[in-house]
Symmetry: C2
Subunit: 242 residues, 2 copies
């Protein structure tokens, strides 16, 4: 935390902008507050002019790193006390962003795994379908952490990625959340047919899509955005002495 | 606009935090975008530790001005190109905030009146019920502007303010949006009984409340948050040459 002891959670957002709004909503919903002043103080860089992370990792687009570092530099100017990034794929550049940030940065997969551990208490026979970008799956952040917990997982195959996940993701980004949600639901059913009992929403576009179709899968999902929100609220309550 | 020609809309928010999220959602919904990068770049100060505006104006609480100026000072550090404030009552300190901001500040009542002019085109016999805080009503921003347009208005009486508006507003602030929405609906029915055909939602807590009860009044409302969102998107499209 910087020299000032002010609590100010920074959000490096915009990837996409709706996922950032989803995070802010989930932070508010997770905060026990009787009045405005008890809510989490947040500084939000919701600047979506970041080159496409999926295309960059596929080798067909510019690197998002300069734009991400520009966001971190601006958040540094605000003396934020913590930094969170509501985009899983952007965590490909986590080490560089952590090095540039004056505030500590939480890895979204660590926040999400804390929720998996919590869920395991109640449902020890969890089999988790992982919904994520190619980049996130290739990085293996979730697979490694789930394997360390001995949790079984079900991953999408290439056809499901190309026909369901990717088009669903880009539908949410162009404002067609329900169309995206329908694709994600179909993907969830495919993963369930191969044994998944629950899902990890390891891409922050997924929850707004599923919410737009009021999917019953939301009740059986561990959502990385919700996980960031809960972590942020826990830090705030700790700061407030609650 | 500062020396750099970067477009970056600044939001002095947190009053309440949900009203700020409502603004961000409405900006996204109002933006014609095919992908992330076409959405409005925003820097959002969503820090709700601002003394209660309504209590300050009633003479029973500390001034919010120092906290508001602190927010403006932080947004100045980011070289924002425009500033909007999604809280009507905070516009009581508009002159001081405008003087402190390096970016031009839009008055929320001006943005809202642009939408009233638009609505008058289609519905010339509009009679507008004004839903706002005591502070906003006492300042007269809306009454003066509506009078200049020869628009008839219906204002809440003291009993309606005390029994419906104020408890509704604070219900939204403590996370009970539906309870707030029920009060606002009752207030709308009272104003309608005195001749209001449409509403001006001149407090940014009102739309989230009415949305939570899926109120039919939303379709007959000119919402100050929506007005700020549309103005912001219009500036962005102008910048993009659209």
């Amino acid at each position: 935390m910087p020299s000032s002891s002010r609590f100010l959670a920074g959000v490096l957002g915009g990837m996409g902008p709706l996922a950032t709004v989803d995070l802010l909503q989930k932070i508010i919903a997770a905060t026990p507050a009787e009045r405005d002043q008890q809510h989490v103080p947040l500084a939000v860089w919701n600047v979506p002019q970041v080159p496409d992370r999926q295309r960059a990792l596929a080798g067909i687009g510019a690197s998002p790193l300069p734009a991400l570092l520009d966001g971190v530099e601006h958040l540094n100017r605000l003396d934020i006390s913590h930094l969170i990034i509501p985009c899983n794929t952007a965590h490909h550049w986590f080490d560089e962003l952590r090095a540039a940030s004056r505030a500590p940065v939480l890895h979204i997969a660590d926040a999400t795994l804390a929720q998996v551990r919590f869920a395991l208490d109640g449902t020890p026979s969890l089999r988790l379908g992982v919904i994520a970008t190619h980049g996130t799956l290739a990085a293996g952040w979730y697979q490694q952490r789930l394997a360390a917990l001995d949790v079984e997982m079900v991953l999408p195959d290439e056809q499901e990625m190309d026909n369901l996940f990717v088009p669903g993701c880009y539908a949410v980004k162009r404002g067609e959340a329900a169309a995206g949600g329908q694709r994600f639901e179909q993907l969830a059913e495919r993963l369930a047919a191969r044994g998944a009992t629950h899902l990890i929403l390891a891409c922050t576009e997924v929850a707004p899509g599923l919410a737009a179709v009021q999917s019953h899968w939301l009740a059986r999902s561990i959502d990385s955005t919700e996980a960031l929100a809960r972590h942020c609220v826990a830090l705030w309550r700790q700061h407030m002495g609650g």
